[in-house]
């Protein structure tokens, strides 16, 4: 009984997702560090995105 209730509570909380092996589909989605990438679908075709330590910056931020 005790076991069941604990388990049920756990199931409700559910955050404890399982681990497992990960072999996902692949596509090289480059966001190269320190490079600027022209984003052609933007309103301003001169817009440049700078990726630094994961931050998406404007060139003038640096």
């Amino acid at each position: 009984m005790r076991h069941t209730l604990t388990r049920r509570a756990l199931l409700r909380l559910i955050g404890l997702a399982g681990l497992g092996t990960l072999l996902t589909g692949t596509l090289a989605m480059r966001l190269p560090e320190g490079h600027s990438t022209r984003d052609t679908s933007k309103r301003d075709s001169n817009d440049e995105r700078l990726v630094v330590s994961g931050w998406l910056l404007n060139t003038q931020d640096r």
Partner: protein, 485 residues
């Protein structure tokens, strides 16, 4: 009214509809049909309360990508997974029903407008709060969207009095569906077993299988095998095109001006690409979830950004001098998964459950489109923030790697089990027709998100209940027609 297992399928019983499963799909259908005067038998494989003997039947294996254990991703007792769902609701977008340029497989054979008449009833059943209209975030390719985040309704509670009192609804627990008998394109009986080895056959005019987004496929695969392939003659897509909504933490943002995102007033805000942006960027739908972060995290994020950018440091210092601090945001996403043949449910003949049925084996993983959908959506938000100078976005580490491999720990998925018995215009493309009727069987219907051909990014249960109400109307009309004839 509740009946014991021994009374199930008694000779001479005339049953209009046998509904199997008591979750978000099964119970509303059964209750609605009983309300309309039809005789319904409602069978639940689990017990009234949680039990290990029932829950253990949900164990299975997953191959491919990281997923949650199958017996923790759903509940198997009266009320099904509504006993632990989160109550987050939003209807699918009209564009979710279309073939998208990125893949035509997302196309539903019915229009969004087919479900609109059932929105009110479904919203009432699930206590859905009013959901505001989408509004475009000018120039971003994104629209602000809304969810109903209220109390989560458990079907067992919502329909407690129907189960107890309705003279036309006979409810039986611990009645596990084990197979469907078919003759000349009609189901002639459904076989149930309890945990003590008892077996009962139920004969009804119509059958509704509503055992959840994994079991619907598993039970049909098993029954089809037992029938020698006569249940579903073209079973090519059975169990396939299975989907969940991937969930992940995708980064953080620092906002200099939270007002344009609506975060000056709210703790959370939600965004998704516009249909136009989905077309232009060749991606699927994606829900971006923005949550305000605590003060310590906010400070750390501010320091992180100012250490990289002297000009932003100066700007933030000026802001702070006038008593305004930038606002830190935690970013999460839940997005539409590409319907692919490879993601599928199969019978695992190497592992049988305690009732003797092969357990489920789920093959699941991301496609390049799944990854691109997320990446493009988060870039849209990041670019909007820096171009309008509202703020700056920082990608989670895993999104800056090459190739991008979604995380194998954490939230992973929504536990929204969709596809496997998809709705289609013809038997070569799916398992059920536009009325959710199994193509080769005149009287077998499927309830639940296993019929979704495409899944948008919205949580599925509201759509499940809309479809359930639509099916109840359809069956009601068929039963009335037959009675008149």
């Amino acid at each position: 009214m509740e009946i014991p297992f021994a009374s199930l399928g008694k000779p001479g019983d005339s049953v209009d509809v046998c509904v199997i499963g008591t979750g978000a799909a099964g119970l509303p259908i059964a209750a609605r049909l009983a309300e309309r005067g039809h005789r319904v038998v409602l069978c639940e494989g689990g017990d009234i309360e949680f039990s290990e003997r029932s829950q253990s039947l949900y164990r299975g294996t997953v191959v491919g990508g990281a997923y949650v254990p199958l017996d923790t991703a759903r509940l198997r007792y009266l009320g099904g997974s509504t006993n632990h769902w989160g109550g987050v609701c939003r209807p699918l977008d009209p564009y979710d029903f279309a073939a998208k340029p990125a893949t035509a497989e997302t196309r539903w054979p019915i229009e969004h407008s087919e479900l609109v008449p059932y929105y009110g009833e479904a919203a009432q059943i699930l206590d859905v709060l009013p959901i505001g209209p989408d509004s475009e975030l000018p120039g971003s390719g994104l629209r602000r969207i809304h969810f109903s985040i209220g109390e989560s309704v458990h079907t067992r509670t919502r329909y407690a009095s129907t189960i107890r009192d309705s003279p036309r609804l006979a409810f039986c627990s611990a009645a596990n569906l084990m197979g469907l008998e078919t003759r000349d394109g009609r189901i002639t009986s459904a076989r149930f077993t309890n945990y003590e080895g008892g077996v009962r056959d139920v004969h009804a005019r119509f059958y509704v299988l509503a055992c959840g987004g994994i079991e619907n496929s598993r039970l049909l695969l098993w029954s089809n095998r037992q029938s020698g392939g006569r249940l579903i003659r073209n079973a090519d897509t059975l169990g396939r095109y299975w989907m969940d909504h991937p969930h992940a933490s995708i980064g953080q943002a620092l906002l200099f001006d939270p007002a344009p995102l609506g975060l000056d007033r709210a703790y959370d805000a939600f965004f998704a690409p516009t249909p136009h942006a989905m077309i232009a960027r060749n991606i699927l739908n994606c829900g971006l979830r923005l949550h305000t972060m605590g003060p310590e995290q906010n400070l750390a994020l501010t320091e992180d950004l100012t250490s990289l950018s002297p000009s932003l440091k100066q700007r933030i210092q000026t802001m702070q001098a006038s008593g305004v601090a930038p606002k830190g945001i935690i970013l999460r996403a839940a997005w539409e998964q590409e319907p692919r043949r490879e993601n599928r449910i199969e019978l695992d003949d190497t592992r049988l459950d305690s009732l003797g049925m092969p357990r489920c084996r789920l093959s699941w993983g991301y496609s390049s489109l799944d990854v691109r959908t997320l990446r493009e959506s988060v870039l849209m938000l990041g670019d909007y923030l820096r171009q309008t100078d509202i703020g700056r976005l920082k990608l989670a580490d895993w999104l800056t790697q090459e190739p991008i491999l979604p995380p194998d720990t954490g939230e992973l998925v929504g536990r929204h089990h969709m596809g496997g018995t998809r709705m289609a215009a013809s038997a070569s493309q799916g398992i059920v027709d536009l009325d959710c009727r199994v193509f080769d069987q005149d009287n077998l219907y499927i309830g639940g998100s296993s019929v979704f051909p495409g899944c948008g990014h919205a949580n599925p249960t509201l759509t499940i209940v809309q479809l359930a109400m639509r099916m109840a109307d359809h069956l009601d009309a068929r039963l009335l027609r037959q009675t008149i004839v």
